[in-house]
Structure formats: C-alpha cells, structure tokens
Amino acid sequence: MPKLTINGIRTDVERGTTVLEAAKFLGIPIPTLCHDDGLKPYGACRLCVVEVGTPPKSKLLSACTLLAEEGMVVQTHSKRVERARQLLLELYVATCPQSKTIQDLASSHGLRRVRLEPKNEDCIQCGKCVRMCAEQMMAGAIGFAYRGANREVIFPFHRRSDVCRQCGACMYVCPVCELRCQGAQAETTLCSGCINFSPACLNYHDHAMCFLDPCVACELAGPLHPAPVKRTEKPKPPDLSAARLDAGPHVGK
C-alpha cells in the first residue's frame, strides 16, 4: 500500500493506483482530455500533468499514467503546473477552436486570449476513439498511422474496415467533435458565441443541458455574470443543417 502525499495530504492507496485516481479519491479535480475511466490510460493530452518531487528536482508528469509510489510527493495545482496547463490550453484552443469541451476547459483555467493562429482541426489525437474501438467495442477498426505532424487516425490503409460495425462509439467518446460549438466564429478563437446563446441550464430550460461547471455562457452572460444580459424572447434552437453529423475519424478518405 504505497503512501504518497498529494497537495500536502498524505494518503494510502492500493498498489497499481494511478496518481490521477488517487487525486480523484481525495476530491482534487485534475483536468483531462484523453482520459476515460473505462479506457486504458494513454497520456497523450498532457493536461493532467502534475508536479512530482520536491523543487528544484521536480518534474511534470502525466497523472493518468503515473503509478503511485511510496514516498511520492505530488502537487496538482502549483504555479508551474497551472502555467503549463494554461499554455497547453492556449495551444488546444488554437488547434480546435470549435470544440466546446476545449473552450470550457480554457475559460475555467482563466484563459482570456489566444496568441496563436487558429487551425480549425477536428482531431487532437487523444486516442479515445482508437481505444474505445479496441477495448470496449472489441473491434479495433481504426488506429493511428504515420508520424509527427502527419499522424492521424484512419482505417487501416485508408480503406473502410469490415470490422467497423458503425456503432458510433468513436464519435460518442470524442471530446472535440461531439460537443461541437454551434455558434463558432472562426475568425476569433475565443468566439464568445456562447454569449449569443442562452445558457443551457435549468435557469432557462425545463431540462438541464449543461453539465459543465462553469459554462462560459453562464460566466459571461448568464446568472453568474454580475450584469446578465436581459433576453426579450426565447432563443431559437441552433440550425444543425450545416453541421457535419458524420464528424469523427475521417472515414472513407
């Protein structure tokens, strides 16, 4: 039972527990993008990095792949970690500005400007779709190919695989394309499109549609804003006709 210290709290965990799991158990929230409790840890998004060791001999390691060890000293929200996360998120927003998940993560980390050119990509290569397909759907129809900037998720040899049952699990689990922001203005990276929508929470609707905390809309224009925008009419539902419903891994390219 390794004993480790997270944010000054000493805790005993079972052998084989990751630092992410240990932190969660203690109620410490660590942001993740490529992690899912049902999938093997991958460590690609780097958002869950935590500071391990005592400065100056400490380094940042991804908590999801790090096994808790006896005597480990972890800080999940040090200045160094927070600054790294902010810069990472700035890069994430610049890569996929249309992703609501990323926009929300960014705003919850206090990101207010993006200095990099937006790329409007569909994939952050978190590997959730690949792992979902292989581990949960037992199909393994898609995978990573090529190296570096050319790396992408494809069917083997770009041919639709016959083990793909079109179950849609890959789309379901994708953190970038699934919750696609409907009001994106591509010219600005932090689009604030959410301001033009009413928040999707119970204050406005019969059923809560927002499970994020806080939603940018709520922060900028909703009940959490000191001077919320007054709405005179109920907002129209978003026009989905132009949205790509087949978004996800680039099938049949």
Binding site: R46, T65, L66, L87, L91, Y92, G148
Partner: protein, 617 residues
Amino acid sequence: MTKLRSIQELEALRAALGADRGSAGSCLSVCCGSGCKASGADDVMKACREALERRGLAGKIDLKGTGCHGFCEKGPVMLVWPEGVFYNHVTAHDAADIVASLADGHHPVERLLYRDPATGERVLREEDVPFYARQHRVLFAQNGKIDPTSIADYFQVGGYAAVARVLSATSPAEVVESVKRSGLRGRGGAGFFTGRKWEVVQRQAAETKYIICNADEGDPGAFMDRSLLEGNPHSVLEGMIIGAYAMGASEGFIYVRAEYPLAVERLRVAIAQAEEHGLLGDEILGAGLNFSIRLVEGAGAFVCGEETALIASIEGRVGEPRQRPPFPAEGGLWGKPTCINNVKTWASIPVIINRGADWYASIGTERSKGTMVFALVGKINNTGLVEVPMGITLREMIYGIGGGIPEGKQLKAVQIGGPSGGCIPASLLDLPIDYEALTEAGSMMGSGGMVVMDEDSCMVDVARYFMEFLEEESCGKCFSCREGLRRLHEIVKRITEGEGREEDLDLLQELGWMVRETSLCGLGQTAPNPLLSTLRYFRDEYEAHVREKRCPAKVCRKLITYRIDPVLCNGCGACVRVCSSTAILGEKKEAHTIDDARCTKCGSCLEVCQPKAVLVE
C-alpha cells in the same frame, strides 16, 4: 576454427598470434571508414595491393583496411607501421611511391605528409600531428591498427582479455562496483551514471533480463558511434558480454540504424566471429555464462533513439516512447529489466576492466570522468572525430585540435548535443566540457555532435533548421510536442521570412518552456533547446529579423538581396553561366545586373565571381 573452451585456450591463441603486425613488421593501414571510402579508400587499397604484388612484397608487408582514424578532413588517410607515419589525402596514384618508400629504405613520401598550417612544416608521425597530439584516444586507440573484420587482430591488441578477467576473477557485484567507481556516465546524451543503472538492473530479481546497445545515432552530423562500430565492433561486443555477466542477462540486442550499412555489415561479421570462437553463445569460455546478441535494424525514425521508443521498435510495435517512470532498468523490453546503453558506453567497459576504474576516474573533471568522443564539424578547419578528456575547454577543442575557423572568420557559436542541445556563444569559449557545465549554459553534452558556426551563420536560421527537423521526427503521440513543435517551427520560419512580430519572441519563449515541461519523452523535453539557447544568447539577431526585417548574417533568403557592384564587375559573364534562374543580365564587358525577382539566392554567382563584385545585402 574451433571454439575456445576456456580462458587458457584464449590466452594460448593470443600468444600464438604473436604481437600485432604493426609492432613486429611493416604494415600499411588504410582507413576504410565510410568517410574515407567515399573519398576513394577502396581504390587506394586496390592500388597498394597491386603495387605490393608487383614488387614481390605481398608476404613481407601487411596491408590492412582499418576503421576511422578520425582526421576525416584529410582523408583518405593512411598509417605506416611500425613508425606510425601519417599520410593524408592519399590517392591510388600514390600507391607505387608509398610501397617504393618502404622497400627502398623507409624514406617517407614527403608530399603525403601532413603540413602544419601554423609552422608550415611537414609532420612525420600521427602522434605529432597537432590534431592528434592534443587528443586522448582511448576508445578509438585501436582504430588505426586493427582490421575490424578480423577477430585475430582484436586478440592481438588484447581483445577479450577483459571478459577473461571478469569471468575468472571478478564477481558480478564487483564488476558493477568497478563501473560505479569509474564514474562512467551514459554517453548517449543524458549522462546518467552507468554504474547506478547497472546496479538497479543487477538487483532486479528476475529470471530474464536484457542488454541493449543503442546504435541508432540519429543526430544530424554525428558519426562517432558509426565509426566505432565500423572500426572496432568487437569492443562493443566485449562490453556487452561483461554487462551480461554483471547484470545476469542472457540475451542482448544491438539496435543499429539501417542507414549505416557498413556498420551493420561489420557487426554481423564480428558477431559471427565471436560466436565461432565461443565468445558468444552458451558456456562462454567454459565459464558458465550464456549470452547471445541479436542485431536489429532501425527503420528511419530519429525518435527510436529514445530508449522506450527503441524498445517498442524491437518489440515490433510503433516506435513511440512512453512516460518514465517506470524506467527500463526495472521494466523494459517485454516488461523485463533491461540495461540499455550507448555504443560508446559499452566500448568503455573493457577499458575500465583492463586499465582499472581508478585509472578511468583519474581522467576528466570531478563529476564527468573519462574521455568523450566528438564529431567536430561545421565551420572548422580540422573536421573529424576527436576523443578528448572531459574538462577540456571549448577553446582548446576549436583552436587547438580543430585548427580554428577557415578563412580566418570569427567564431560565433558551437552547437553541442545535436537537436537536443543548445548553442554556446563564443563568449563562453573557456567553458569546460563537462555534463553539468554544459547543461547550466543551456546546452547539453548529448551524444557528441559538435557543430561550429561562424559569423556567416544565422542563429535564427539554425533554430529554424532544428525545429524543422524535430517537427518532422516527433512521434506525434503527445500534444505538447506534436503541436508545440509545429507552432514553434511556424513562428521561427515566419521570422526568417521577415514576417516576425514583436510578440513572437515572448511567445516562443513561453511555448518553448511549455513543450519542455510537459512533453512525454526526451525528444520533446529537449526539442526547444536550440530555440531557447539562441534566444538567450543571440536575442539581438532575432530582434533584427523582427524589428528591422534584416538578417545580420545575410543568410535568410527572403531578407537578403544579391547585387552586383557596377564598379567592380568586369562583365566576364561567369555568373550568367552558373545562374540556374537566368536572373543575371548584361552585355559582355559591361556591368551585369541581377533581377531580384528571379534570384533564388543560391550563391553560385558569389562563388564564381573573380573580382568579388557580387554583394549580399
């Protein structure tokens, strides 16, 4: 050849072989490393063989193709033993004279001797050539003497004596202790104390353990490992056998990049010979050690030089690294305890066993012991492989051994450690070569690449070059490295094209910091080094590119113009003939002009212009 079944049999064979030819009789050693081969060493060998036959000396004078001697600038290189006479720039036409000089009284062929530019005098022996005199050749000591395809040669210079000593008189724990005491640090770049790594592997209670030699050498411009593998492959095998004994491994792998066909070939031959002689396989020298080595070729990825990616590659998986901890010493190849070390590290082991850990520790600085091999390249007079004691200053390396900068130009920076290392400015020339000193200065020791840059090198362009390389070679798994390097490259490229913005400099600094802090493996963690070190020491060059859209070194093509001085131009038309973009116009005997719109800044006209009328602005 029958297997050597005991240490006594090995010693008997060694005695029967006698002293190496070079000490006893005459021997011509022609460097047949990749570099000299490219300059015609094979023709020299053939011509020498024919000349010896013609004079009936084929039985009396030995002719050997050896490994890289190191003074690559002066290749093809030849050594004449036993005197140790050093000939440079040897061609096939010189063979007759060389053989004649040996047959008729040993007067050396003067025109082939090295001329010291400082004194103007010809130097007779290799050890007196300034390039060599200041070196301390330990790992490369035998490269000028032995034929790498002959295990007999290796025996003659004491090969496998360390294995015999270890198997007969030392316990595995004592071997590890010896390596620890020597202070040897990993020569692959990170400089982790080898003895400590060996100790961790040794202590693992596992049935199966593995030894790996990392011969992937991916740094552009680095060829130290290649030359060691081509010139003395047995030294690496010997080190691995000793390691297997010390740590309890029964299988070893040498992961060599496929782009080194000669090294692969020499290794195959060496492994086969060692097996034939019972130095690899079961019951090595009858002393109970079972150890075999397999050769695995790489497939063209720089990232596979990273230990966990290399292991993945051997396992047949995609060469992508994984986060460490856990380290390979505890869980490596197929999950078993694995000791992975660089070529030079393995080759250092027999030296430590034979000459003693204390002898090894007497060389170098307090924390960086032994010798280090560098590939000295770039804007330097004496290009080649250099082996020096740790602690030698950069000044000594560049001016003492390297012979200074060609054309008397000013030194600007030294890039050490390949794409993972940083640039050290000329102001820090008295920095000792030592792991800690280099890291503090913003660079790192790396595997031994040392690129010299002069006043005509643009440091922003250097950063751009490395970012381009690293972006291409990134495995792409983790976001920080993949996207971060892409952006860093993009921004630096924009700066070299005159589209840099003031905010870019701080952005590069912050983004670079983030990539270094959050990347999953060593490639990403060190990738920002070339950029961050040039920003630190050459910020003025970046500012000139950004604020004035000017490249001070006149390298960045979009920021320079080629112009012909109408006064100096004599209208000879030599430039028109070499211009591949037909950008130069002019009548015979009249001043020519360059059309900037068509000019690609290739520099051909600059090279051929006799009156030096082509100006770069």
